[in-house]
């Protein structure tokens, strides 16, 4: 059997100021190949399709099972996780680009720290730190656990933000992931203590109001998180919170 080959076109950029260039690669087909494993092979033998030596490709990746959230990139134009992008399911040549809305570090590596700043801005945590043992927390009923579990699946990959037409430098929109985390922590019996703070935070500039409900986030989320449901629910909570604040003010 003749060896099949796989063609790649990868967008390279040596540093944030360098011009972007496309490089082509051709690899031998192997069963169960994915985009990350292909780039590992390129790193082992960094030669372009036309035989020119080049540098290994820089990219983030860790777990290889779509759970760490590192390897988000645009594959054939769409933001997704590279580890779960199986070569056999992709149209060739496979075009690989970095995420489009985040500051580029090098090649396919981008700085996604804005998500963590957003999570901090909405206090997306359960406050249990203290100087003494607070004892066991309140009980979470199984029904509530069922509702929260899908939201807790977020891997912070930022795909939902990259595909969002409203997530850009003009709006500074917070993005769907953070809003879903607000729902998760507002549902938590101990996390609830920051509920009002979180809702008020989301009414700030770049907050939940910037959502245009294009629904790309929920269509693209690799973890199938019900992002639009969360946006709808939290929108209502924010509106009610702002109305209460106005009337009590």
């Amino acid at each position: 059997m003749a060896n099949k080959s796989v063609a790649f076109e990868i967008k390279r950029q040596a540093n944030p100021d360098a011009p972007a260039v496309w490089e082509s690669f051709e690899l031998e087909w192997r069963p169960s190949m994915n985009v990350v494993s292909a780039m590992m092979e390129i790193a082992a033998n960094p030669v372009t399709a036309d035989g020119r030596p080049t540098t290994p490709i820089t990219y983030d990746c860790n777990c290889m099972e779509e759970i760490c959230g590192s390897c988000a990139m645009r594959i054939n134009g769409k933001a997704r996780m590279a580890c779960s992008a199986l070569i056999d399911n992709l149209e060739q040549p496979i075009r690989i680009e970095p995420l489009s809305k985040f500051p580029l570090v090098r090649d396919l590596q981008v700085d996604r720290s804005v998500l963590f700043e957003n999570l901090m801005a909405v206090k997306a945590w359960v406050p249990v730190d203290g100087t003494y043992d607070l004892g066991s927390g309140p009980r979470v009923f199984p029904q509530q656990q069922e509702a929260n579990y899908p939201l807790s699946n977020c891997i912070s990959c930022c795909c939902c933000m990259d595909v969002c037409p409203q997530f850009n430098e003009d709006t500074g929109f917070v993005g769907a992931a953070t809003i879903a985390q607000v729902k998760l922590f507002n549902n938590h019996p101990t996390g609830k203590v920051f509920k009002e703070d979180r809702l008020r935070a989301l009414a700030g500039d770049g907050g939940i109001q910037e959502c245009g409900f294009a629904q790309n986030c929920v269509d693209t989320c690799p973890k199938q998180i019900p992002l639009t449901n969360a946006i709808s629910d939290i929108s209502r909570d924010v509106i009610i919170q702002k109305a209460k604040d106005f009337l009590r003010g």
């Binding site: 500051p103 700085d111 957003n118 003009d170 770049g206 109001q209 245009g212 409900f213 709808s232």
Partner: protein, 266 residues
Amino acid sequence: MATAQPSAVYTLRPGVPPLRAGQGTTFLFRKLHSLLGVIPIGAFLIEHLLSNFEALKGPAAYGAQVRFLNSLPLVRILEWTFIFLPLLYHGIYGVYIWLRGKSNLVYYPWSGNWMYTAQRYTGLIAILYIGQHVLRQRFLGVQLPEHPYAAFAKVQHELANPWMLAVYIIAMIAICWHFSYGIWLFAAKWGITPGVTARKRFGLACAALGLVLLVMGLASIWAFVGPNYKNAPEDATPAVSLFISPADVRGVSTGMAPSSQLAARS
């Protein structure tokens, strides 16, 4: 031994700024935009299309409807507070919203994304159309508040131009689309339909409402350009008779009581 080159220090582009938690006023302005689209603008749209539907009954009925609307108390204040100013705000802020969004339909040609884009284009068509429509039909030409019975002829003259007719039909489609998807968006974004199934069901209801409004709107346009009321009179004021109607005269002559007295007796 070669000395190591000091590695260059690069600064990253700033990227999308993080949430300005609790700061600023866009929440209020954006929610106002959203609310005004449904009430009063959406409510007015339904009123307008219902009123237009009277055109199917002819110039006199249409004139009577225009007369009724212009006889509402404080009508000029109502008009500015509930129609012109909200429309102006909704339109201008809507364009501002559009300019701040970056469409990516090319990469993500999905239904929600299509609707997102369509909402912006139909909105633009609506602004341009409503601008000329208000100017030409409300402020220029025959003053309808003073001459309500001239309304039918005024619209008929406008639609006699085939280009204008095309503009009205395109705008009718765009506006019905914009309104029906707009109320769907309103329900989704105000947390009225937080579930996928609820949004799907409400989507069908919105589509049905949009279609009904569109059919009504197109039917009213037909009333002006169709064969039924060709060459409508410039003034369709119904003649008021000071004489007893022939029916009553006939009733008296045959010894029968007029119908009103019959009704009173029963």
